[in-house]
């Protein structure tokens, strides 16, 4: 157990080092930082002095070490475009994205898992077939088209829900939450639905195919032959093994949700991290891009780590193979 964990931790550190190296190369060599910071009228000597004082003439290794140290201590530098500290910009935007992501993940799981189980058990029923057609649409219709459609129907035609921004948020310290007022909850509904639909279809399709595979295994056939009642068979024996991969799905999905929130946030002008990242790409704001990259990678590494550890707890096979020392 301890060996497994330390191995995974080491891997995570390796990934973060690789990503931070990429971010450093991006920050240091894509465009000239000095040219971005000063105007045309600054003399070459002044530029050189600035370059020296910022340590841009130091050996690359020293610069990289400093870059990593700064990141670890939370010194993220300043945006080229707004001149604000990046740490503050991201902290300001993070709650919006996390709340949006959490609600869409909830939607995708609460609807997706039962629908997946249902379609696996009733393979040729009318409802199952219609659900499958709906998932095909969910996978094929791009998130932004779903968003535009929802805006047109519920925002423009019916006028029921707001289609722009977060509404009235309540500040709890630095965390501005949208869960506490009716206005902000109404604003949350359409974006969360837009983001959730695609994930929902993914959950459903994966649960369905996992369940189908499990139902074909020998132990299920054997249990059927023994005459165990269908309900126990499906929900005790089959479902348990189906849900092991589902844990991974949830982990991966949260990553997907964070990534696709870029699109949703753009459609609804939702003031989250995705919109910040998109703006940084549009205006070639390299420092913001590289910090976003590191933070997102960190988020993903942590999620993957948690998923792996959960696997260890849930699936006895993983436990056995690690004890045997083969991996």
């Amino acid at each position: 157990m301890l060996r497994f964990i330390s191995r995974r931790l080491l891997q995570s550190v390796f990934v973060m080092l690789a990503v931070s190296l990429l971010a450093f190369v991006l920050f240091r060599f894509v465009g000239d930082p000095i040219a971005q910071m000063v105007g045309q009228e600054t003399s070459i000597e002044d530029q050189e002095r600035l370059r020296d004082s910022m340590g841009l003439n130091d050996p690359v290794i020293t610069q990289y070490t400093r870059f990593v140290t700064n990141l670890v201590t939370g010194e993220f530098g300043y945006s080229y475009r707004t001149r604000q500290p990046i740490g503050e910009m991201i902290l300001d935007r993070m709650p919006a994205t996390l709340e949006l992501g959490a609600v869409s993940l909830l939607i995708s799981l609460i609807v997706g898992i039962p629908a997946g189980i249902y379609t696996a058990l009733r393979r040729d029923g009318f409802i199952a077939n219609s659900l499958l057609i709906v998932t095909l649409i969910g996978v094929s219709v791009p998130t932004f088209v779903i968003g535009i459609f929802l805006i047109y129907v519920f925002g423009v035609q019916l006028g029921w829900l707001p289609t722009f921004g977060r509404g009235d948020v309540v500040a709890l310290g630095w965390w501005k939450t949208g869960f506490l007022t009716l206005d902000s909850l109404r604003s949350l509904l359409l974006p969360a639905l837009t983001l959730g639909i695609y994930q929902l279809t993914l959950t459903m399709r994966l649960v369905r195919s996992e369940m189908q595979e499990v139902l074909k295994t020998d132990y299920i056939k054997f249990a059927t032959a023994r005459g165990i009642n269908k309900r126990t068979l499906h929900f005790n024996h089959a479902l348990r093994n189906t849900l092991v991969p589902v844990v991974t799905i949830i982990g991966l999905q949260f990553g997907g949700i964070i990534a696709f929130s870029i699109v949703t946030e753009s459609v609804y002008q939702w003031p989250g991290m995705g919109l910040l990242f998109l703006d940084s790409i549009r205006y070639v704001d390299i420092p913001v891009m590289s910090v976003y990259l590191v933070l997102i990678a960190l988020m993903f590494v942590i999620i993957n780590l948690i998923v792996d550890l959960l696997y260890f707890v849930i699936d006895p096979r993983v436990r056995l193979s690690s004890r045997g020392g083969s991996h």
Partner: protein, 305 residues
Amino acid sequence: MVTALKRYVLERELLYLFLNSKVAIIAAIIATLTIGSALLAPWIASTDPYDLKSFDLLDSLYAPAWTDEGDERFLLGTDDQGRDLLSAILYGTRLSLLVGVLSITFAGLLGVTTGLLAGYYGGWLDTIIMRIADVQLSLPAILTALLIDGIARGILPRESHDNLMIVVLTVAIGLSLWVNFARTARASTLVERNREYVQAAVIMGMHPIRIMFTQILPNIMGPIMVILTVDLAVAILLEATLSFLGVGVPPNQPSLGTLIRTGTEYLFSGEWWIVLFPSLMLIILIIAVNVLGDFLRDALNPRLR
């Protein structure tokens, strides 16, 4: 490769299964129609949407021809620049397909080559390639594509942006999709490399590279074909998304995503057709490719039959 494919088709009775699946046939017909009309766009379309002289700002925002405010010259109406929407959609589909096919080819070549190398040689080469793949797999494709797109914007001079955007998009989307190919090719190669025909080739003194591409590759084409189709849909979707977000193809050469982006600006004032028709085209295209991909996957997976 063609003969290998043909053999594969016969072996697996793919054609038989295909002819017995109504959904697959319909999807294939729709895919052929959309792809065909897009390829023939220069001959079918009434105007050339890339040629500034061929359209007039005075014609802008006409509704579709069958509505009251329509004009019979423009079947699906016009956009904000006065372009015939039908022509713009045909050319846009062509551009979307072009970027999709180019990037998936790029991803396939890169992924299959690295996968073959990793699977055949094993050892440190395998470790390095698969570690990179793991790192990249933990980032969703759209994020990778956006990031590469952003880096390219930083490196390339501003003037050449518009001309190089197609290349940039191809590389960005291709680099975000190669991992699937690499992992599949590697897994299949690991199985194949212990087979007798590979050992025979080794004994005959064939060069490893030649063994990989002439002996192993034809035998692992099945799963790669599936990914090729499934990920083509993903590539088209990525291009549309990037263009919709305003970091894809430039507005003077609209792809489907760009058209939808322009359309949303007019949605609130009631000009619904600029959004609707390109979206429909995009959805039909992706559904058709997805259905074909699903069919291939099910047909090639003996466990599900």
